[in-house]
Symmetry: C2
Subunit: 254 residues, 2 copies
């Protein structure tokens, strides 16, 4: 392993195990040069690797600091199930959740031809329109994630879904009242670098990948009636699920 990688590895270990907590100022290039008896350039390479991994931020001229990661607990299952099923989930929540921060969201509504991803999942014919509710969610004024929910126009029209306001009881409840109760959902999670538009919309720093979380909601008879495209910056979220064994399940899949 080259020397710069060894130095980076030591710093990374400190960040991971908590001995260099968020907000800590890293040793300077001069400090590292002296401590490891290496060239300045080697020290710089080590720090730069940590910046690219998103572990450290540059705050010139004050130096480099361990990034403050307070990931928001993001639980897709909460949509159907307000309370976790097991006590461990509550413990987990208490440890991880970003409490005490002020939430805010902006909502835009548009009638659009859906992107290919959405069209295929909603099984729409060519030329069929969708209603999209585009939300940006903020915590303490910082953008946290985006959430674009698509509904077939034929289902959503003449409902509150068309209004660019918060729907206190939720868009799913509005659909349920129209006779379209969602009884299951598929979650797909892709991991990738952000597009320039996402970088801008979510004010992402370098080395910040995103989870692209696609939800498809189905009625009892298997009809897809909702697709949500969520963009979740990696430095601000942990996605959590809980799974229970069904009584009939074997201990492990063969």
């Amino acid at each position: 392993m080259p020397v710069w990688q060894q130095i980076a590895e030591e710093l990374r270990a400190g960040i991971t195990d908590g001995s260099l907590p968020p907000g800590t100022r890293l040793p300077t290039e001069a400090d590292l040069t002296e401590r490891y008896q290496v060239a300045r350039n080697t020290a710089r390479q080590a720090i730069s690797a940590l910046v690219n991994e998103g572990l450290v931020i540059a705050a010139r001229p004050r130096g480099y600091f361990v990034r403050d990661r307070r990931p928001l607990e993001y639980r897709p299952q909460q949509e159907f199930r307000p309370r976790p099923l097991s006590p461990e989930m509550d413990v987990f929540l208490a440890e991880h959740s970003a409490t005490g921060r002020e939430p805010m969201q902006t909502i835009e509504v548009a009638i659009v031809e859906p992107p290919t991803d959405v069209k295929r999942r909603l099984r729409l014919a060519d030329g069929e329109f969708t209603v999209v509710r585009r939300r940006v969610r903020y915590l303490d004024g910082e953008p946290y994630n985006t959430n674009d929910s698509y509904f077939p126009l034929s289902l959503a029209q003449d409902s509150e879904i068309m209004r660019p306001d918060d729907i206190a009881r939720g868009a799913n409840q509005v659909l349920a009242e129209k006779g379209f109760l969602q009884v299951r959902a598929l979650d797909e999670i892709y991991v990738r670098m952000p597009t320039p538009i996402e970088t801008q919309r979510l004010q992402l720093g370098p080395g910040t990948p995103v989870a692209y979380h696609v939800v498809t909601g189905f009625t009892e008879d298997g009809r897809p009636i909702r697709v949500v495209l969520n963009v979740l910056p990696g430095d601000r979220h942990v996605i959590a699920f809980e799974r229970l064994r069904l009584p009939s399940d074997p201990a492990e899949a063969p």
Copy 2:
């Protein structure tokens, strides 16, 4: 939006909507220079943005190509539930799964002091050891993901878990036979850039973030007996879950 971003956006749209399918050769810098009437450097910037996002790979001197993404279907729920509960999941699988590729894995077993992450989740005392089974999984000879499973030494010793071999019925079944049946699991998914060691172990290209998937398995009385650390390259996986509404659930969380 600067011109290079507009060019990148057009190419990106083509990649996303399938009109530039995997393996397609991108227009060259010269092509883009001519088509958009821009400086060579502008064209280069557009292509470079797509490389950094992981959408395109350089295969010099032949040019730039749309990356071949055939994400492996990765389903944490399958561990407890060999068959999906709903027909939509099967459809989804058929669309996405990387079929016909030859799987292979390497297994190493070690007795180690657990990393902080594992120690906390297993609620181990200082100095307690764990058994770790470290697996690298390959498809058609290409490394796909890594899977490090940690068990308290006190539970795993004198069992097949200690042998660096495949356990056909699964390590969970071995624990169940010893009286430790896992009835629930928590999944935590973090999204970040890879460490240099992960980059090397998984042969990752530029612009390839990873999902860091942590599983904690619990017995009926809430005892954590297994923690798995999975590293899943974003260009090779889609993580999928299915959720069912319980009869008692409201349509949506308040």
